[in-house]
């Protein structure tokens, strides 16, 4: 997929912005800090996904004093040229129009308009709680499997139903409550098994790309092991039965895909806390690039890759190797300077909130 045009009205700091991009090229968005570089990447991302990678709240996206933001991108994907126009309204519901036709379902956007973003905060995928690693694998799988998003929202709803049931039952379940719990357990474990299977398949698929990409970027030969760490054994259903008493006491569901994790070892050391910060950063970007490669291999469509402030994150050797091993397709990079050896790329410069050198 390629983004050919972006226009923003009252989005973040931009009151009005129109840029055309060249497809299949590395594009640098340059400027000093606080000029709105990341906002441009965010605009591109929002245009395709109808959500931000920085904030789950809508209102901060609308420029101060304005009532609505309009984000419009023109994309070429699967040989079709489409315009996606999003409206974020301060006082009413958002609207998304694809080629002028209003869309209400956003769950297929990730599959239709594949995009992968790396931002400095993604270090959390390696360092922080399992939920970051779960979101990572979920997003990767969802970009190649259009049904996965629905499956995981189904699972979330079943989980909420079961937890509500646990709360209403209390400590002394009668026969009718046991039967009700049996029924929800059965449905929950059905969805749970499917989710786990797809996550494992996704991780398997990703691991080759992760291994080779890490080797190229780090320049060393450290061994990476990726392991899907389940919170349960045998089957979800039998584990739910075993932990039922505990669940009833805690009034929440203690096992299942919502408690699983991915363990990433580097030469036998857990990357979460036993490897250097530089290695953690490299791993984080490698995971994202691997998911871009997987999307291309599985769906045949190259995702747009957005790299926010990546140059300042690594030493110059790693930066050089990183740019040498980027996946094919359109790539946007924001930063304050262009690293050596890449001066031939397309450059968009921002100075005091205005644009220079746009093509």
């Amino acid at each position: 997929m390629y983004v050919e045009k972006l226009s923003l009205v009252d989005f973040r700091n931009w009151s009005e912005l129109n840029i055309g991009f060249q497809s299949d090229k590395l594009t640098f968005i340059l400027g000093d800090n606080a000029q709105g570089k990341t906002n441009i990447l965010e605009g591109i991302y929002f245009g395709a996904r109808h959500k931000s990678f920085r904030s789950s709240e809508r209102l901060p996206l609308i420029r101060d004093g304005a009532e609505q933001s309009i984000i419009r991108i023109e994309v070429l994907s699967r040989d079709r040229r489409r315009t996606i126009a999003s409206q974020i309204n301060r006082y009413s519901r958002d609207r998304v129009l694809i080629n002028g036709k209003q869309t209400v379902r956003f769950d297929g956007l990730l599959y239709d308009f594949p995009m992968v973003v790396f931002q400095p905060d993604d270090l959390s995928i390696i360092k922080d709680s399992p939920s970051y690693r779960r979101s990572y694998i979920d997003e990767a799988v969802e970009s190649v499997d259009v049904q996965y998003g629905q499956l995981s929202s189904q699972y979330d709803r079943l989980l909420r139903q079961r937890n509500n049931l646990l709360r209403s039952i209390g400590n002394r379940p009668g026969p009718s409550e046991i039967l009700t719990l049996d029924v929800w357990d059965e449905q929950l474990s059905d969805a749970a098994e499917k989710i786990t299977l797809r996550r494992k398949e996704g991780l398997e698929e990703l691991s080759d790309f992760i291994l080779s990409s890490y080797r190229r970027i780090s320049g060393d030969n450290k061994r990476i092991e990726l392991q899907y760490a389940q919170s349960w054994s045998d089957s979800v259903l039998s584990s739910l039965r075993k932990t039922r008493e505990n669940d009833l006491r805690k009034q929440s569901t203690g096992i299942g895909p919502h408690r699983d994790d991915i363990v990433i070892n580097l030469d036998g050391f857990n990357s979460r806390n036993s490897v250097s910060q530089g290695e953690q950063r490299t791993l984080a970007v490698v995971l994202k690039l691997a998911s871009a490669t997987m999307i291309e291999k599985v769906t045949g469509e190259t995702p747009v890759v957005l790299l926010d402030d990546i140059v300042s994150e690594f030493d110059s050797k790693r930066v050089t190797r990183l740019f040498e091993s980027l996946p094919s397709g359109q790539i946007f990079v924001s930063g304050t300077f262009i690293p050596d050896g890449l001066s031939g790329s397309v450059v968009v410069e921002i100075e005091r909130g205005t644009l220079h050198g746009a093509s």
Partner: protein, 199 residues
Amino acid sequence: MIYPPTVQTLVDEFSKLPGIGPKSAQRITFFLLKADQAEVMALANAILVAKERSQWCSRCFNLSESELCPICRDSTRDARRICVVEEPRDVVALERTGEFRGYYHVLQGSLSPIDGIGPEKLRIKELLQRLAGPEVDEVILCMNPNLEGEATALYLARLLGPFGISVTRLASGLPVGGDLEYADERTLGKALEGRRSVL
């Protein structure tokens, strides 16, 4: 803007209705305030009369204006089959097909712990009482094809097992007269799962 208290009360009452937000509530209120007295009376009367006259059928718990609903009073129907549905509107939908000549049982909801609805809030006890006699030999579960409907059907299936009667479920699949390419992935997936041999 601040409305006179009586008007505000009306707006508030309308906003309690399902699907009506504060904006729609205002619009309806002003529509009524501008309308003829007779029209408003007709509406108010219709609400009162409908509320007064309708009750739940004592056998199937469908909406009715008498002790038994017209379907339950119709003795020409097939007493061997009971179709279990969630809401009265599902009875209307099934009746329109003209394909079912048995009786109905309306649960008045589906299992949903989030909304505080467990089996005791549904008309399940009453269904079991109806099945105690010898005449029923098939129960058709017509729950909505969503998670809550699925859970309700599964629950009933477990409960009805010991009765030794045939328990069936509605098939789920593609809409008739539609195009395969327009079906969403889950519907198409379900249809594939429930495929039938044609030989």
